[in-house]
Each structure stands twice: as C-alpha cells, then as structure tokens.
C-alpha cells in the first residue's frame, strides 16, 4: 500500500460518508483515460503574418479553444508558429474594436462616439463623395495591407476613380523584388530544401519566418548537408545556427557580393555553356568586377579576404545547388535595388535559375482574376501622386514615403481623403511625426481594422473589422517554393464578434451609397467560383483538406522559354537601366561612416512579432513585454551604461526611451530594437507607453530606384537616462 492509495482511500472515507455512491463512480472516472474533448475541427488559414499557414481550429460551443497546424498543409510543412498559436489572443482580445467609432475631439486625443453602422457608412460615402468632387477622384488615397480582402480596396479605388493606392510593400521588400525582376524577368522563390550552400545576407530566416523557407532551411542543414553562411551585424538565431557567421559592416553587402563575382569570374568557376546560353553581359560584368577584389571587400565589410575567396570557391563548387538567398529585408539603404542586383547577379553566375537547390520561377496555381470594367473619369488627374519621382516604382504597390511627401507638399495635386484597411503606417513607416502631419492634412480618414492601431487612433471614422476566424474570404493562391503551389480560402470558424463586419461588406455598403454598387454586386461565394473556374474541383478539395494543390511543374519551367527581359536572357548587365541612366551593373559606394559617438540603428524581426499587429497580443506579450535596445558590451562600457539601464535614443527626427540590453551579439557601431512598441493608442493597453517606437526614430530616406523605405540609414545617439 502506497501513500497514494492510502490518501485516496482515506479521502474517500470522509467523502463517502457525505456523497455516497456518486463519488465511487467519480473515482473510477479519475482512473480512466481522459476523454477526448468535444471538438469541432474546422480548416482555416492563419492571418497573424503574411504567410497564410494552414490551420485547424478546434471549436467547442462556438468558442475557439486551440489553433493547430493542418498536417496536410505543405507550404508551412505542417507547423504553426508561436504567433499562429497566439491567434486566439488576437481574436478574443478585450481591446478589440467593437462598434463603429466617430472621432469627437482633436486627432489623437482619444475621444470617440459610438455610432450605428448605417450612420457610419452614410458618413464614409458622403465624405468620399465630397473629396471626389472637391479634389478629383485622385484626391483620395487608399492603403491596404496584406489580406485576402485587400483586393477589394484596390477594386473600390479604381471604380471610385483614384490611382492612389499604396500597400505595405514599399516599407518592406520592393527593392529586392525590383532587382530580381530586372535580372530574371520575374521574382524568384528559393529552393532552400535542395540547396547545398546558402549565403544568407539581409535576411534572418530562423526568426523572420517565411514558409516553407524557414523550415526547409533547417531540414537542408540537418538532413541534406547544406552549408549556411550568414552575414549580419547581429548574432541572430540564424547566425547562431549557421556554419559561419560574419558580423558584416552594415551597408557593405554589395562589396561582398561583387567580390564573390570577382573570384567566380577570375577563376572561371562558372559553367561557361550556361553563361553563354542563358545570360547577357558576362564580358561587361567581368570588366566591372575586376576592381572588387576580396581584399577590397575585406576592408569594406570587415570580413577576412581569404574567407571571402574561400566562400566564393565553395559556393561555386556547390552550384547550381547553391544560392545567395534573395531575402526580404530590402528596405535598408538608398541603393537597396542595386545591392540586391548584386545578389541576383551572383545567382546568375551560379547558374541556379529554375534548377534544384537554386532559384525557382513561380508555379501555376490555377486561380483566375475576376475582371471588371472600371468607369472613366474625365476630371481625373493624369497619374498617381507618387509617379515619376523615382524611376522604377511598382505601380500596383506605390511608394508610401514618396506619396507622403507628395501629400504634404500638394505636389502635383492635393489629397484630402484616406481610406486604410489592415495596415498601420503610423506604426510601420519611418518618421512617425511626418505621418501625423499627413493625417492632419486630411479632411477625412476612414480606418477599417480589428484593433485601435495608431493609424486608427488618428482617424476620423473607425470601423470594426471581422478577424480571420469570423469571415468568408476569397480564395488565395500561394507559392510554396518546391513544397507546393496551392490555393486556400477561409470560412467563418465562429460567429462574428460584436458589431464587426468584413471589409468586403464595408466596401459593398459604401459603394452602394455612391452609385458604385454594381461593382460589388456579388457574394464572396460567387467570387470564389469565378476565381476557381479553371480548377472546379478546388473548392471541394479545400473543404476536405483545407488546401488545394495544383500539380504544376517545379523545375525546368524556363526550358524553351524566353526571359522577360530586354535581352530575353538573365541580365547580368541591365540594358534597360542603361537606357534610363541607371547603373546597368551595381556600382559600390561606401556607406556613410557612423559619426563618432553615434550608432547605426538597424531593424529586424523575431519569431514572436509581426510589427505592430502583435504588439497588443496578450500571449505574445508574455514573451516580449517590452522592446530593448541591443547595445554592444564595449560600447555600453564606454557610455557608462549597464544592462537594464533606461537609455534615451535620439535621432534627427525623434527621441525615445527604453531599457538597454547590453550584449556581445551586436557590432560596436550598431544598435537594434524590435518594432511595434510604445503605441500612441491608449486602446492598445499592452503596447501603449511600453518600450520604444522605432518608427519615431527612423529617418525617412528611400531607395532612389523604387521608393522603398531605407530603414538602415539613421544614426542615433544613446545616453543613459538619469532618473
């Protein structure tokens, strides 16, 4: 007889006297295996970042209890990250917007009046009409983030008559896309899984998760013998898990890449037949990179010359199953398109395009667009407000920073209305004061969001949106590199909470009040059927598996096909750039030296944060309650700063305070903090007044080719804050 049996028995003596036979049954039950929960399992796709990982929601009595990965979802390799798991905390966030709110006080003062939906939609329609008649249709700006409903914002803008639509992308990755598009004719996907040698620069794939690349990178390393070399001024988790890590001097990645090209060409380590048949401009490139020796790059990058030469040889030896990982952190410098061109060119020399372990072309997904005829407006402006200010902007993404400057200057025409859905420029665009100025310039700002973001906080009308678990979404085609090309959709998992409505219903409501109803005269179900008209089985398959896979070709897509470039080949030398007066090959210029006693502020990600959208997530908040300033041990000592001390960080555009994290995991000339903290909105109770806002500090320089923000060009002073 054990203590366990004894106590169990004697416990029952007392209990048995009171409860009788019922408790005997209870004991039996306690010993029996735990019963399975009464779950209703429903498919959906995550929406806590842009990856759209497949998930299964476990629902009990109309309440989501747990979000699990969909094991059949190959794009994310059957996983759900911490943020995906924390989706519940976003949906059930007590700070969520519950009903339409109309601003009563000054902008940002936080005085709101609850109004009924009908009144809100009447007002939005009326204000949009006013702006249109007073300032032409282009006098209204539309901004939307990455979301399955975002396309309806673009549709609305077009039928309303405005060319001015901006996305989040010019604050993120458009310069990288530009560089690869202008080299290959399209933006590639990386076949990380089958690669034998990967150089990771300007990306942090084990923290900034991209599916399937992040998962495949570990499989490639651990099971396929892939070598990973990382360049990063920070010792990130990616750096920690790499075979080699070099704390590159920020802004010098191009020198490293050009030196790789130098060695590969000088030592003839490329496949001459491939270069001859598939690329344009090898002679010009050879001449151009003569000057960029490993010795030259070593001085620029603070990476030993012999390592650069060795890495070039190892990389070429592993080719074509080798790559310079394209990366997404391309909003870094004023020449970021040219920096990424250098990445693209080295990949060109490796001959890895369209091959296992290299860069892949987009695969056929099978979805079709749903076309419509937009009306013509004679009174309209000639072009977007941000047109012709940089030479190679992406028309469908725009440039947020160029647009903001143009709005502030009324150049070439005024914009006085702004409609914003699921993006938060107040929290993601550098130089927050300027975004506030831009807000103040507006007659009327409408924000549709699930939370009172800082952008909503500065708006006139705030409309509560449904979360991803409450609404019907159109289908979305996803590229999953070698894993899949697939289609996902979302159906409501739970009843819409509070008075929330989907963006589509909001657009439909406003359009109907503006005589534009015919452009939204359909249901999402009808829309999906049009999208899937070429793959009629897709909707049924998605109901069954949560995802539809198109069995499209992975490799050799370009066999017998021409490249969508001027030379119809991979352009090592870009003829179009030459015609436009841009450098046809990347020319290295040394980055501005960090001024004495200052630091370069760099941005970055971790696996628990999606910019500002997770800042108020009660689960994720437990991991990162506030952001900190990473400061090198040596630099901290020089400044008399101890770990945990409150410091003031000041830049040419702003000042913030936060705790210092004294660490050896960053260069002495660089500091870093996570984005998303210290919101102005007091209705984001966990992130308001906590940590520091990085966008209050970042200066608003941009890439001269695409207008992409350059977030690594701000120098800051750091001083110990004396209480």
């Amino acid at each position: 007889m054990s203590r366990r049996d004894f106590f169990k028995a004697s416990g029952l003596v007392a209990a048995g006297a009171l409860g009788g036979p019922a408790l005997l049954g209870g004991l039996k039950k306690a010993n029996a295996a735990v019963p399975a929960p009464a779950w209703d399992s429903k498919f959906s796709a995550c929406d806590i970042c842009f990856n759209k990982c497949g998930l299964i929601a476990r629902v009990e009595d109309g309440v989501v209890k747990k979000l699990d990965p969909n094991p059949k979802f190959l794009k994310s390799r059957g996983m759900l990250c911490a943020r995906g798991n924390a989706g519940i905390a976003q949906v059930y966030d007590p700070d969520r917007l519950k009903h339409p709110l109309l601003r009563k006080g000054a902008r940002g003062e936080g005085k709101w009046q609850r109004i009924p939906w009908d009144e809100a939609l009447d007002m939005a329609a009326q204000k949009m009409e006013e702006v249109r008649s007073k300032y032409t249709p282009c006098g209204h700006l539309f901004s939307a983030g990455t979301d399955l409903h975002s396309q309806f914002v673009g549709r609305f803008a077009e039928v309303y008559g405005s060319f001015n639509v901006t996305s989040h992308e010019s604050l993120c990755l458009v310069s990288g896309n530009r560089a690869f598009l202008d080299t290959y004719g399209e933006v590639p996907f990386a076949d990380v899984l089958n690669s034998k040698y990967i150089i990771m620069a300007g990306a942090n794939r084990f923290e900034a998760l991209v599916t399937p690349d992040s998962m495949d990178l570990m499989t490639a390393i651990r099971e396929n013998g892939c070598k990973l070399v990382t360049l990063d001024p920070r010792y990130t988790k990616t750096a920690a898990l790499s075979h080699e890590w070099y704390p590159v001097r920020p802004g010098t990645d191009m020198a490293f890449m050009l030196a790789l090209a130098h060695v590969i060409i000088a030592e003839k380590l490329y496949d001459p037949q491939w270069i001859e048949e598939k690329t344009y401009g090898i002679e010009m490139l050879a001449e151009h990179v003569k000057q960029y020796t490993p010795g030259f790059a070593a001085e620029q990058c603070s990476i030993p010359a012999e390592d650069i030469a060795r890495i070039a040889r190892e990389l070429a030896a592993a080719a074509p199953a080798a790559m310079i990982y394209p990366g997404r952190r391309t909003s870094d410098y004023e020449n970021s398109t040219q920096i990424r061109r250098a990445f693209a060119i080295v990949n060109g020399l490796l001959g890895n395009w369209d091959k296992p372990g290299g860069l892949l072309a987009a695969r056929a997904v099978g979805l079709k667009g749903v076309p419509y005829d937009a009306p013509w407006y004679d009174e309209n402006q000639e072009d977007r407000i941000d047109a012709h200010k940089v030479p190679m902007m992406f028309e469908h993404e725009g440039s947020f920073l160029v647009t903001r400057d143009a709005v502030l200057a009324d150049d070439p025409y005024p914009i006085r209305g702004w409609f914003i859905y699921k993006t938060n420029p107040m929290g993601t665009a550098p130089n927050r004061k300027k975004t506030i100025e831009m807000m103040n310039k507006m007659d009327f700002v409408t924000v549709v969001d699930i939370a009172m973001s800082d952008t909503a906080w500065m708006a006139d009308l705030v409309l509560p949106s449904q979360s991803y678990l409450e609404r019907t979404d159109p289908c979305s085609g996803l590229q999953g590199s070698v894993a899949c090309a697939c289609v996902v959709k979302r159906d409501p998992i739970i009843e819409p909470m509070y008075e929330s409505r989907s963006l589509f219903d909001v657009m439909k409501g406003i359009a109907g009040r503006m005589d534009l109803g015919e452009y939204f005269d359909f249901t999402i179900d009808e829309y999906r059927r049009k999208q899937t008209r070429d793959i009629p089985e897709a909707l049924e398959v998605m109901d069954r598996d949560g995802v539809y896979y198109n069995p499209s070709k992975v490799y050799g897509i370009y066999e017998g096909r021409i490249y969508k470039t001027l030379s119809k080949k991979i352009e090592l030398y870009n003829q179009r750039y030459e015609q436009m007066g841009l450098d046809p090959m990347p020319v290295y210029t040394e980055p501005t030296k960090v001024p004495k006693n200052q630091f370069r502020l760099v941005v970055g990600r971790d696996a628990l944060t999606t910019q500002t959208s997770t800042a108020n997530n009660s689960l994720l908040h437990q991991f990162n309650p506030a952001n900190t300033l990473w400061l090198n041990t040596e630099s901290a000592k020089r400044l008399g700063i101890n770990d945990g001390d409150l410091v003031e960080v000041s830049s040419p555009v702003g000042r913030q305070e936060l705790a210092a994290e004294v660490t050896d995991k960053i260069r002495t000339d660089t500091v870093y903090m996570l984005s998303g903290y210290n919101t102005l909105s007091t209705m984001q109770t966990l992130s308001h007044n906590v940590g520091a806002s990085i966008n209050e500090l970042l200066d608003d320089d941009y890439d001269t080719v695409t207008g992409n923000a350059s977030m690594h060009t701000t120098f800051v002073s750091v001083t110990r804050k004396v209480a």
Partner: protein, 245 residues
C-alpha cells in the same frame, strides 16, 4: 514490455521560435507568466567566422523520469509514475498544493499553478492524445525537433528514432540522476543545467524506513479498505508499483 512515453528531441533542429511554448500555454490554459515547457539557450559568446556547429537551443519540459524524485517528495501520492505508460502523472484530486515536489524536480519542470493552486507540469496533453493528435508542442513545432511517442514501440516514430540513434542519445545530466525520459539525439546543446533534487527530510525518511512504514500505513490502509469494501480495493490497485511504500 509496458509503454514508456517519451520525447526524442533533435536539439540541433530547434530554432528557438517558442512555438512549442505558446502552443502548450493555449492547449493547457497555463496561467499568465507560467510555462509548462521551455527552450534553453547555450550561453556561447559569439565568435565571428567559423562557428562550432553545436546545437544552441534545447527544448524541454517534464521528462517523466524513470526515477522521479517528485514522486518521493509528494506526501499524498498525488504524483505517481503510471506503470502502464511510464508517464509521471499528477492526480489533481489528491494534490494539496504543498509545493514539496517543486524543488524535488532537478529540472525545474514543476510549478504551482497560480489559478488552480496545485502542482502543474507537462502531461503530454492527454485530451489531445485521446482525440488522436500529438501533444500541442510536438504538433506545432516548425522544424519537428520534438518527436513524441512510446520508445518501446519500434513502430512508432519516437521508437524508431530511439532505436536508430541509441548509441548517441544524450540526457540532461542533473546533479541528481533521475533517469529522464527525454532523449536528445547527438548534441543536447546545454546538457548540464539540471540541479539537485530537494526532497523533504520527512519524505526521505519515509522512503528509507519503507518496510516499517509500509506495515504501519498498510495496516491503517487495510482498516480503511475494509470499511469501504472490495470495489475500492480494485480501484486502488492500479498504482501498486509506487516507489515509496
């Protein structure tokens, strides 16, 4: 052979993304600021250039030990090792929240649940297993570093990994060797962080004087059982193999 549920972990695959920690918190409604599982980090100073290639991050949780000191420390028998599955189980009906078991775990895997005020730790998500799906941390892991199952079953993924890597399996080497059932393939990353099991003297004495106590406890127990009848004897017979009596 009876089951031994265990985790076989490839720590070198762990990217420290905390998906397992977040998934566990949601699945088990773990109170704010408390955690049933974790990822340890090797405190290596970064060296530019060639890295060592060693594992840097180590996922962990209750290791459902073969020699569970927490069972020794539990005065009520609420904590016991299930002979059928090899799990270390907390019977919350018997737990009095005394906290004896917390320092008795050399790995710090136990905590007092701030809401339930009872001992808490990883239980391999029994509700999920009953529904035919893996424990939340295993299911959600992006790189599938965590593998769960019966290591005595060569057909299971955990058993297959266990057999295949038998020669290089490593455990966390705490100062008190409790023979944990959490196995790391190759390099466990940070192996030596486990501490010493602190079991209250009275409980140690109870274990040392087991034969005498067995008689005393057994006699009183027999009295109780006699009063309650045969059904209870059958009901209490499931856990005869407890180590402490």
């Amino acid at each position: 052979m009876a089951q031994q549920l265990a985790m076989v972990i490839d720590a070198a695959k762990c990217i420290d993304c905390k998906a397992c920690v977040a998934a566990c918190k949601v699945a088990n409604s773990v109170p704010e600021g408390q955690f049933r599982n974790w990822i340890k980090q090797a405190d290596d100073a970064p060296v530019p250039g060639k890295a060592s290639g060693k594992a840097k991050f180590q996922p962990g949780a209750c290791m459902h030990c073969d020699n569970p000191t927490c069972v020794d420390a539990c005065p009520t028998g609420a904590t016991y090792k299930d002979p059928a599955t090899g799990e270390v189980v907390i019977d919350h009906g018997l737990c009095i929240g005394c906290g004896n078991c917390l320092p008795a775990c050399p790995y710090g895997a136990r905590f007092r649940n701030a809401e339930k005020r009872k001992a808490d730790k990883c239980n391999y998500c029994p509700e999920r297993r009953a529904a035919g799906i893996p424990p939340a941390c295993v299911d959600t892991c992006p790189t599938k570093a965590r593998v769960f199952g019966d290591i005595n079953d060569p057909e299971s993924e955990a058993g297959r990994l266990y057999q295949k890597n038998k020669d290089q399996l490593a455990r966390v080497t705490a100062r008190t060797d409790t023979k944990p059932n959490m196995f790391y393939i190759g390099d466990p990353g940070t192996p030596d962080w486990g501490g010493e099991a602190v079991v209250p003297a009275s409980m140690v004495a109870m274990k040392q004087t087991a034969p005498l106590l067995k008689a005393v406890v057994g006699l009183s127990g027999l009295g109780v059982l006699a009063m309650l009848g045969r059904q209870l004897i059958a009901g209490s017979g499931d856990h005869k193999e407890d180590t402490d009596a």
